[in-house]
């Protein structure tokens, strides 16, 4: 077991190392951040001073070694633009993104499950067909375009909801969040819905499939025969059956959520990590881009490692196959 974990840890470290190479060199080949940062009136001497101050006068290999040394000490470098540690900047933007992701997951569940249940219980009805057709739309609609349409409809024409930014925050249970104020919630609604769209479609399909499958199974037939009330059958037995795949898939979808929050945050000017990434990309704030991508890499590698270890505990064959190879 220990050998297995050590092997996997080594593999994970190799992956992280390779990714750091790709990310660092990839991000460092385009453009020149100095021109982005410097005042246009600056003369040559000032430009050279800035290049030195940012450490860009050194050969790129040396910059990379310096960067690796920093990572080993938990230091991802300082933002060119803000002069603050990149990690600190990202962590400052993290709560807004998590807030958005959680609310959109919640929306996916709250809207998706009832619709999916309905479509599964009454598959032949027109409403159900409409639901299923819309779920395909949910997959296919380009997130960014829907975002624009939401703004156009709800903010510009109807004027019901604010179109951009995060609302007022308040502290409740020791957590600072915009969930605790009306203003905050009203700002959150559109971006969360926008982000949730794909997942609503996914949940509808999963829960419909779950219902279709379960309806033919013995225990449901038995419960029906026993004369249990319909709401009990649905509420207890069906839900149990469909929640497992939904929870699993949504867990896996978290990564995608993170990726697409980049789009949603850009459209709705939501001050989260995704917007920070795009802003940093466009302004060539390389340390922040590299730090963001490295954090994502570390996150995914860690998740994979955990999954592998859990699997190997549950199913020893995985471990054996690995040794055989």
């Amino acid at each position: 077991m220990t050998v297995f974990i050590i092997r996997r840890l080594m593999q994970a470290m190799i992956v992280v190392f390779l990714m750091s190479l790709i990310v660092f060199f990839g991000v460092n080949v385009i453009g020149n951040p100095v021109d982005m940062l410097i005042n246009p009136e600056a003369d040559q001497a000032e430009i050279e001073r800035t290049i030195r101050a940012l450490g860009l006068d050194k050969p790129i290999a040396e910059q990379y070694l310096f960067f690796l040394k920093g990572i080993a000490q938990g230091d991802f470098g300082k933002s060119f633009i803000f002069g603050e540690p990149a990690l600190k900047l990202i962590l400052q933007h993290l709560p807004a993104t998590i807030e958005l992701a959680l609310v959109s997951l919640l929306m996916a569940v709250v809207l998706g499950i009832p619709l999916g249940l309905y479509a599964g219980l009454f598959p032949e009805q027109g409403i159900s067909r409409t639901i299923m057709a819309s779920s395909i739309l949910g997959f296919s609609l380009p997130t960014f375009w829907v975002g624009l349409m939401l703004i156009m409809g709800f903010s510009v024409y109807l004027g019901w909801l604010p179109s951009t930014g995060r609302g007022e925050t308040a502290v409740f249970l020791g957590i600072e969040s915009s969930l605790w104020t009306w203003n905050g919630l009203s700002h959150l609604l559109l971006p969360a819905l926008n982000l949730a769209l794909t997942n609503i479609g996914l949940v509808i399909r999963l829960s419909r499939a779950g219902v279709r499958e379960a309806m033919h199974q013995e225990y449901i037939k038995f419960a029906r025969a026993k004369g249990l009330p319909t709401h009990r059958i649905i509420g207890v037995h069906l839900m149990k059956n469909i929640m497992i795949p939904i929870v699993t898939v949504l867990g896996l979808e978290f990564g995608n959520l993170l990726a697409f929050s980049v789009v949603t945050e850009t459209i709705f000017a939501w001050p989260g990590m995704g917007k920070l990434l795009i802003d940093s990309l466009l302004q060539l704030d390389r340390p922040v881009v590299v730090a963001y991508l490295m954090i994502i890499v570390l996150l995914f590698v860690a998740i994979n490692l955990l999954v592998d270890i859990v699997y190997s505990i549950l199913d020893p064959r995985v471990r054996l196959r690995d040794q055989g190879a």
Partner: protein, 308 residues
Amino acid sequence: MTDQSLNPEDNTAAQAVLVETPFQRFVSEYADNKIAVVSLVVLVAIVVLAILAPWITPQNPYDLAQVSIMDAAQPPGTEAFDGYTMWLGSDGAGRDLYSAILYGIRISLMVGLASGLIALIIGTAIGLVAAYAGGRVDTLIMRAVDLQLSFPAALIALMLVAALGRGIDKIIIALVVAQWAYYARTVRATALVESAKEYVEAARCLGLSHGRVIFKHVLPNCLAPLIVIGTVQTASAIALESTLSFLGVGLRQTEPSLGVLISSGREYIISGRYWISIFPGIALLLTIVSINLVGDQLRDVLNPRLKK
């Protein structure tokens, strides 16, 4: 010699009889679903319009001599500086939107198909190697595939475009890298199943070369799942390209794809000039949805396991 020359003839003869019926069955099964038929018609129409674009549009939106700033941001139905009517209005640079959308679909389809095809070829090759080589090579390849699939494709593409810069070639490279693993995994799985079957064993015993076995027997069996994955991945490639362009890291503004057009329409939303982002959006939506619906039906028809 004689054996080898006989074999293929036998095959083709046998296929000629069979091909007729499965194809007809395929068509009739596909036609079962009305929505799928409509989507196919829409998709074909979109492709034809895109191919014919240079002959059926009043303007080449990429030729500056034909675009005039005097036509900028005009509403649908306005008469253009050069005399024709702009039925869908014009964008902020004075391009006729109808022309720009058809040319934009061309770019989208080209990016989607090119990246899908390249990813398919690379993914298939890698998948076959993994299936045949087995052992360490297989483990290594499958580790890479797992790793790749654990990252969202959108993030991978974003990372790559960040590193590579803008332009159509770079977008295609980014999309290929983001998608090859789907093909590789499918091909490997199918190839493993197929090569364990008796007829392949038999073919091998007959002394047929690996290449022959692969191309004659294994690959044709991979075709069905590859077509299904191919359609889905093409749609997602088109969506990804437009998303990247929208974020400002994709294609250039002067030769706009649909994503760029929509993005350029964003600044006109509040002033009520809705047409600049809505019409290209609808075109994009129709393209993606029709490909997805066709792919959905293909999966149902081609995948025997899903049949009731």
